[in-house]
């Protein structure tokens, strides 16, 4: 029997191919192009090979920003994930409280990122901001624009305020999908609240938690807007995370070559961490199955 080939499929795939090319592949290739050349103006350019990569990788400022970034992202995950789970567990399961808490929780997620930065910039000021004023009233010397530690904590608290809701909503959806009979069965067995959490709720939330952790990792690792508005990366370099540093090189100093090399490294770090995390979690799931 002759195999009939229908070339119409190519025609149908073409729009997707076209969009992906324009939105992802061509920009990425442009960056690759920049990263291996020294460009003075459109006519004057030299191929420099891996020189920019070597320079960027040896840059102490980059190392510092990377460490800062890792500590920051770790802190974000360590605070937001347990806090999100805890809040999700305490939310009402039925009644008017459900919609009320959903709306309240969704509010921070709906605010544009630079507005979040502005809100916290004003909120944290010692002279006119409610938060800053109250903290200083309590006798704590707090000033995020001069004290690096204060700035760092403010950025972290802002992120927790902004994004914990996402984890809460994901976990809540996971919890809601557990049939009531599971809780009854556990009650009949005489299982403790901890056992119910460990053996029913946590396993049932696993898949949404993986998504939540991945999203929060990627987002916090790429954080730019909020600290840019709040502290501008300062004081000094206390809150200069990778994106902030990248923008300083690319736009501030217009060093396109190093910036492009840096972008690629940045991209690979995120890709690598996500892949490792996903593989480890999925393998852990499989190992349990065996």
């Amino acid at each position: 029997m002759n195999k009939i080939t229908n070339n119409k499929a190519w025609f149908l795939v073409l729009p997707v191919f076209f969009i992906v090319a324009i939105s992802a592949i061509i920009p990425l290739m442009t960056v690759v192009n920049y990263s291996v050349q020294d460009i003075f103006d459109p006519q004057t350019r030299f191929f420099v090979g891996t020189e920019w990569f070597e320079q960027v990788l040896g840059d102490r400022r980059l190392h510092d920003a990377l460490i800062r970034q890792i500590v920051y992202t770790m802190s974000v995950l360590l605070i937001e994930v347990p806090l999100g789970i805890a809040v999700a567990l305490t939310l009402p399961r039925k009644g008017w409280g459900v919609s009320a808490s959903m709306v309240l929780l969704a509010l921070p997620l709906l605010i544009p990122w630079n507005v979040v930065g502005t809100i916290w910039q004003i909120f944290g000021r010692a002279d006119i901001g409610l938060g800053g004023y109250v903290i200083n009233m309590l006798g704590i010397d707090y000033n995020y624009s001069q004290n690096p530690m204060d700035a760092w904590v403010t950025v972290l608290v802002m992120d927790v305020w902004h994004w914990t809701s996402l984890i809460v909503l994901l976990c809540y959806a996971g919890l809601r999908s557990i049939p009531d009979a599971y809780y009854q069965a556990a009650k009949i067995d005489g299982a403790s609240n901890w056992a119910v959490f460990r053996f029913i709720q946590l396993p049932k939330m696993q898949s949404v938690l993986v998504i939540g952790v991945l999203l929060r990792f990627m987002d916090s690792f790429m954080i730019y807007t909020e600290p840019f508005v709040l502290t501008g990366g300062g004081p000094g370099t206390a809150t200069t995370f990778l994106s902030q540093f990248l923008v300083t090189i690319a736009v501030g100093q217009f060093d396109l070559g190093p910036a492009a090399a840096f972008s690629l490294i940045y991209f690979l770090i995120i890709l690598l961490v996500c892949w490792v995390f996903y593989t480890v979690v999925m393998n852990a799931g499989k190992r349990e199955e065996q």
Partner: protein
């Protein structure tokens, strides 16, 4: 243990879910709760278990009041319609979990888990996770978890509903044997009359939150005390028709006349509802007393060994169960025969006043 319910009522938000239920469950008895969906079977079981308290009434165990006692202290087990197992534990740990929580020692746990698993035919699956099992195996695991702990009250809430046909039959046959040797009180909720009959034991028929009849299953089947009971405990539901007794004879609303003999002899004048089961109607005249009736064929359901023919006459629809495969043409007029010896008679208040003797219900017409 004897479990006694005394005037149990449950209202939720002004709606009555359970309405004044009183019943006594004997030690070691197998009790079927038969009723349609939303009849209150699950609510009643939840109160028997102690998962929720009744609004009023008392629950006694061996004459001691346990109405407010928490479920953990009552030594009950429950199996649900959904397959409920701990998702991250393998089958062994799932079955062992109630024993671990009771603090039974390790070698004893191992022994009992293996025994129970063998009984449920899942001994080869002990190291699998629930999600790797078929529905039937998952439900077997859930049942093993319920049976491993020697509870005094075992509640099964439509445990076979979510299983496919073949597995359901298999488990349905096993269940009475599995539970026979214990002195646990078993309560089994179902919507299917056939399941109740197969399981045997005692049967409580539930309708709109009330237990309308409670007794040995076959006895209830042979004497459904109310019209509703007949409808619930009969598949297809019992065929009904208005009738009147006057001048020493029973006149059916369809105009047919039936003489008052046999079990119908004592009926006084007045209005009645008569009922007849689908398998007691016939397309052949089986004896001289049979009344020939006519109707239009509405529908024929063929199950293989039987055909259920729906016929319409006098604004009612009846179902006739015929053996074998038949293909009557829809809309066609058909004649079928009603044997008066097999009529149930209900009075104006829908209470049973005459039921055919059970040997006539079981056997072929005389």
């Amino acid at each position: 243990m004897t479990l006694t319910l005394e005037n149990i009522t449950k209202t939720v938000g002004g709606e009555t879910h359970i309405d004044d239920v009183s019943m006594t469950l004997e030690p070691g008895s197998f009790n079927v709760l038969l009723g349609r969906t939303l009849a209150g079977k699950t609510s009643l079981m939840r109160m028997m278990a102690g998962l929720e308290p009744p609004t009023s009434g008392r629950i006694l165990v061996n004459n001691a009041d346990v109405t407010g006692m928490a479920v953990q202290k009552r030594n009950v087990a429950m199996v649900y319609q959904q397959f409920i197992n701990y998702p991250s534990m393998n089958v062994y740990d799932n079955i062992a979990s109630p024993l671990k929580l009771q603090g039974v020692d390790k070698t004893e746990i191992e022994k009992r888990v293996r025994e129970t698993a063998e009984l449920m035919h899942i001994e080869h699956l002990l190291d699998r996770l629930p999600q790797e099992l078929s529905g039937g195996q998952q439900q077997r695991t859930a049942m093993a978890r319920a049976m491993v702990k020697d509870c005094t009250l075992l509640l099964l809430d439509e445990p076979l509903v979510n299983l496919d046909y073949k597995l359901r039959e298999e488990l349905r046959e096993e269940i009475p044997n599995l539970l026979a040797k214990r002195d646990t009180i078993v309560v089994y909720a179902t919507t299917e009359p056939m399941e109740a009959l197969l399981l045997g034991g005692k049967c409580a028929v539930m309708h709109e939150g009330r237990v309308t009849q409670f007794g040995p299953t076959t006895e209830v089947y042979h004497n459904p005390a109310y019209v509703e009971t007949g409808l619930i405990f009969s598949d297809p539901p019992i065929n009904l028709l208005k009738a009147e007794v006057r001048d020493g004879a029973l006149y059916l609303a369809s105009g047919h006349q039936v003489s008052l003999s046999g079990h119908l002899a004592d009926l006084g004048n007045g209005n009645y509802t008569v009922g007849v089961r689908a398998n007691h109607l016939s397309v052949e005249q089986e004896n001289a007393q049979c009344v020939a009736m006519q109707g239009q064929v509405e529908l024929a359901e063929i199950t293989g060994s039987e055909t259920f023919v729906h016929v319409h006459f006098n604004d009612v629809s009846w179902v006739i169960q015929e053996e074998g495969v038949h293909n009557p043409r829809l809309g066609e007029a058909t004649t079928f025969y009603l044997d008066p010896n097999r009529l149930f008679a209900y009075d104006a208040d829908d209470r049973l006043v005459a039921a055919p003797p059970s040997e006539i219900q079981n056997g072929k017409a005389a």
